[in-house]
Symmetry: C2
Subunit: 424 residues, 2 copies
C-alpha cells in the first residue's frame, strides 16, 4: 500500500500544503485496519504519532488512550434534510481523514487560499504534528426519532433497537444541557490544541446543518486501553483502568466491544455503542475521608492499586477473600466488586474516560470529576453495571450530571463516508 | 550547594517518600535564583523538568512558559485574621516548595500516613514527575481593603499605591464571578494533571481560611517567554508571543517586569504585577473573516507571523511603511500597531497567556478564547496599552469577561514564607 513519506504528513500546514496532493493523497492511505501506524514511536505532547482514519473499525476505541480529549455532541438543525445529514457526514469524513493525518482542513488550508476568502482551516494547529489524533463519530437515539410525526431523515426504521436513551439511575442529577445529542464526535490526541482544533473545525463545517449541543474537555486520560500504557490516576487519586479491556485482548474486544453481524442491525456490525457520563466528584468531601475508608470504598489500595484481597496491581480480585476478623476483604459496597464481571454476568466494558476540571461552583468547590466514556457491544451492558453500582459506596462522593448514548458505526474504507452504512 | 540526587526528586510519591527527609530536604535546595535547574533537558508532558521554588524572584514569570495552566483566585474567609493569613501563606509556601520539586504535600503524602486519617496529599499526581511545575502567588487589591472600617489584616498601610482595581475599559463585559480576588495562584506545568493537583491541594490547605473565588484552566500556552521556545498559536490561528519580552533579554526584564526598590513599596522590590483578563473570542464570526482582513486586523501574516510591513517572523515592525497605494502597510487599527512600544511610550509587557475552551454557550458557540496574563512593573503600563487597544480592529471579535490584578511579591529564600515581606 502506498504510504506518503513521513515529510508529507509529519507536519500540517506549510509543509503539508506544499507536499500533499489534497484529499486524494490521504484517501490513498491505509485502507486496511484502523490499527496503529505510528510515524514514530515517541510519546509526549509533541508526538508525530499518526493513526489511520480508514479501517474496519473506527479509531479512538481500542487505540491506546491518548492524553487529551475534546468531546462534542451536536444536534441537527430543525430544518435539516436527509441530504443535509448525508452531506454533513461526508464532509466530516473528508475533514477527519485529513486532520488525523496531520493535514489541514481543505486543500488550501489556513493560509494557502485566496486572501479574499475566509481560510478553509482555522489555523491554530498549523505547524503541529498529527499528535495521535483520532476522531470517532456516533449517532444518538434522537437522530432516529420522528419529529411531529415526520421521519426527519428517513431512518426511523434503521434505528438499532438497543439504541434507547439510558434509563434513569439511582442518584442521577442530570442536566439536559449536558446530556443527549443527535451526533457525537470524540476527539482524542496527545496535544489538546490538536483535539480542540478538530472539534472547532468540524463544528464550523456543520454550520447551518448541525450545531454544538454540549462539549467537554478532558485534560488527562483516566484509563489505559493498552498494556503498553501505565495506568493513570483519577481525581480521587486512585489508579484507574487497571482491569480495563486492553487492545491486546482481541477475544475480549470481539466479545465485549464490537457489535457483531448477528446482533444487528447490519449497518452497525463492526461498530459499538458509546456511553458518556459526566460524573462530578465532590472532591472536598472525598479529601476528608480517611485512607483506609477510601481504599475500602474503591476495593483497591491507593498506592499500588492492588486489590484489597491482596497482591499487586494486576493480581486478580478475590471476591471471596476475608480479613482475619471474617469480613469480606473487598467490601460488599466496594466499587470494584460491584463493577466486576463476576457479579454482572461476565460483562466487561472498554472504559476510555478523562479527568476534567471546569472552574468551580458558587461555593468555591472545583467543578471537577470524571468524564466517563465506555464502549460496549450493547448499551444494556452498561446499564447492568451501572445498576449494580447503585449500592456503590463511592456514590456519596459522586453526582452524575451528564449522560448520553450513541451508536458508533464501523470504520469505512477510503472514499466512503461514515454515514454510508446508515444512509446508503 | 547540596543537591539531592535525581532519584530523590525525579518522582513524587513512593520514591519521593522513601528518599526525602521531608521539608527540610527541600528547604536545603537551591537558595539561589529561581532560575532553571532542569533535572533533564527533555520537554513533553512527561517531563522531569524541575524549577527551584526559592530565589530572588518567583518562578513562573520569566520561566519558559509551560504548556498547561491552572489559575486560581481566592478570597479570604470573612472571619479570617492576620494570623490566619500569615499561616496560610506559610503553609502554601511549604507545600509549593515540595510540589514544585515533584514531592507530595506533607511528609506522609497520599499513602504513607495513618490509614485512619485523611491522606495529606490527594494522590492524583503520584508517580508523575515535577513536570516543570511553577507556583506563583499574588495579592489582590481587596486584600488590603478595610471591611466595615476594620483593617482586616492590618496591612492597609502596606498597600502598593499602584495596586488599584483596573479601570473600566471600552467594551468590557466583565462578570464579577470571574474577576478579582484577594489572592491568586498561577500553576503552570508541562502536565495538566500536575497543575490541577497543585491548585487542588493548595485550595484544600486553604480550607476555612480562604476559598476559591474563580479558577481557569488553560490547555495551551499562547506565548513564548524564551528564545528557546517556538511561538505557539492562539485560537485566531495566529502566532502569539513573537515580540514578547524573552527571559534572554535581562535588561528588558529589569526595565519592564520587576518592581525596583525605588518604585516601592520596599516589600515588593523584585516582585511584579500580574494582570489576568479572560478574553472570550467570538470564533464563529472570526472564522468567516477573509484571510487578508484577518491579517490586516492583527498586522502580521497568518502563516509565518511576519509583520505586514514585510520580513519574517522576527523582523521588526515598520510602522511607517506604506503599500503601493499609499495606505499604511500595518493598518491604523492593527493590533500589533496599537500594542507596540512605539505608540505606548516604550512600554513592553511580559505576556504569559493560555488558550482556553470551557464548553459552549446556549447558542452552541464554543466558550473559547485567550486567558491573557501579563507581568509588568506597574499595572499602569497594562492600562496604557489596553487603552491604546480601544481602537483595535480585533475588538469586534473579542469580549473581555474576566479581569483581575495582583501584586506579585518577590521570591523568598528557603525557610521564609511568601507572606514575610508583606506581613513581616
Ligand atoms: C467517578 C466515578 C468512578 C470512579 C472514581 C471509578 C474508579 C474506578 C477505579 C479506581 C477502579 C479500579 C481500577 C480499574 O480496574 O480500573 C475502577 C474499576 C472499574 N470501574 Fe469504575 N469508577 C467510576 C465510575 C464507573 C462507572 C460509571 C462504571 C460503569 C458503569 C465503572 C466501571 C468500572 C469497571 C467495570 C471497573 C473494573 C472492575 C473490575 O473488573 O475489577 N466505573 N473504577
Ligand atoms: C484575545 C486577545 C488578543 C489576541 C488574539 C492577541 C494577539 C496578538 C498577536 C497575534 C500578536 C502578534 C505576535 C506577537 O508579537 O506576540 C500580539 C502582539 C501583542 N499583543 Fe496581543 N492579543 C490579544 C490581547 C492583547 C492584550 C489584552 C494586550 C495588552 C493589553 C496585548 C498586547 C500585545 C502586545 C504588547 C503585543 C506585541 C506588540 C509588538 O511589540 O509588536 N494583546 N497579540
Amino acid at each position: 500500500m502506498p504510504e506518503p513519506s513521513p515529510s508529507d504528513l509529519s507536519r500540517r500546514g506549510l509543509l503539508g500544503l506544499a507536499a500533499a496532493g489534497g484529499v486524494g493523497a490521504v484517501a490513498g492511505l491505509a485502507a486496511g485496519a484502523a490499527a496503529v501506524s505510528a510515524a514514530d514511536g515517541g510519546g509526549g505532547s509533541a508526538s508525530a504519532r499518526r493513526y489511520d482514519f480508514y479501517g474496519r473499525h473506527q479509531a479512538g476505541i481500542t487505540t491506546p488512550a491518548q492524553d487529551r480529549l475534546h468531546f462534542a455532541a451536536f444536534d441537527m438543525s430543525a430544518d435539516a434534510s436527509r441530504d443535509d445529514l448525508a452531506a454533513l457526514l461526508a464532509d466530516w469524513t473528508e475533514a477527519a481523514a485529513r486532520m488525523t493525518q496531520g493535514l489541514e482542513v481543505g486543500e488550501s488550508g489556513a493560509v494557502g487560499g485566496s486572501p479574499y476568502a475566509p481560510p478553509e482551516d482555522t489555523g491554530e494547529a498549523l505547524g503541529l504534528p498529527a499528535s495521535g489524533l483520532t476522531l470517532t463519530f456516533g449517532f444518538g437515539p434522537t437522530l432516529f426519532e420522528t419529529a411531529d410525526g415526520v421521519d426527519r431523515f428517513g431512518i426511523a426504521d434503521r434505528r438499532p433497537p438497543a439504541l434507547e436513551p439510558l434509563p434513569r439511575f439511582t442518584g442521577d442529577a442530570l442536566v439536559p444541557e449536558k446530556s443527549g445529542g443527535d451526533l457525537c464526535v470524540q476527539a482524542c490526541a496527545d496535544d489538546p490544541q490538536v483535539a480542540v482544533h478538530a472539534i472547532r473545525n468540524l463544528s464550523r463545517i456543520a454550520f447551518g446543518r448541525a450545531s454544538l449541543r454540549w462539549s467537554q474537555l478532558g485534560f488527562g486520560r483516566t484509563s489505559s486501553t493498552s498494556t503498553s500504557q501505565t495506568t493513570p490516576r483519577n481525581l480521587f487519586g486512585f489508579k484507574d483502568g487497571t482491569a480495563n479491556i486492553k487492545a491486546e485482548e482481541p477475544d475480549a474486544v470481539a466479545e465485549h466491544v464490537w457489535v457483531s453481524a448477528d446482533d444487528g442491525p447490519g449497518w452497525l456490525a463492526g461498530g459499538s455503542y458509546l456511553v458518556a457520563r459526566r460524573i462530578r466528584m465532590i472532591i472536598e468531601s472525598w479529601d476528608r475521608v480517611q485512607l483506609a475508608e477510601q481504599e475500602d470504598l474503591v476495593g483497591r489500595t491507593k498506592g499500588e492499586g492492588g486489590p484489597m484481597s491482596g497482591g499487586g496491581e494486576f493480581t486478580e480480585l478475590d471476591l471471596t477473600a476475608t480479613t482475619p476478623d471474617g469480613a469480606p476483604a473487598i467490601a460488599d459496597d466496594a466499587h470494584v466488586r460491584l463493577a466486576h464481571p463476576d457479579v454482572n454476568g461476565g460483562i466487561r466494558l472498554l472504559r476510555r474516560g478523562y479527568n476534567f476540571v471546569d472552574g468551580n461552583d458558587e461555593l468555591g468547590r472545583l467543578d471537577a470529576g470524571l468524564f466517563f466514556l465506555s464502549f460496549q457491544r450493547d448499551p444494556a451492558r452498561f446499564v447492568a453495571v451501572q445498576r449494580s453500582l447503585a449500592r456503590d459506596g463511592l456514590n456519596e462522593y459522586l453526582r452524575h450530571v451528564g449522560s448520553a448514548v450513541f451508536a458508533v458505526p464501523p470504520g469505512v474504507q477510503a472514499g466512503a463516508s461514515i454515514g454510508d452504512g446508515l444512509l446508503g
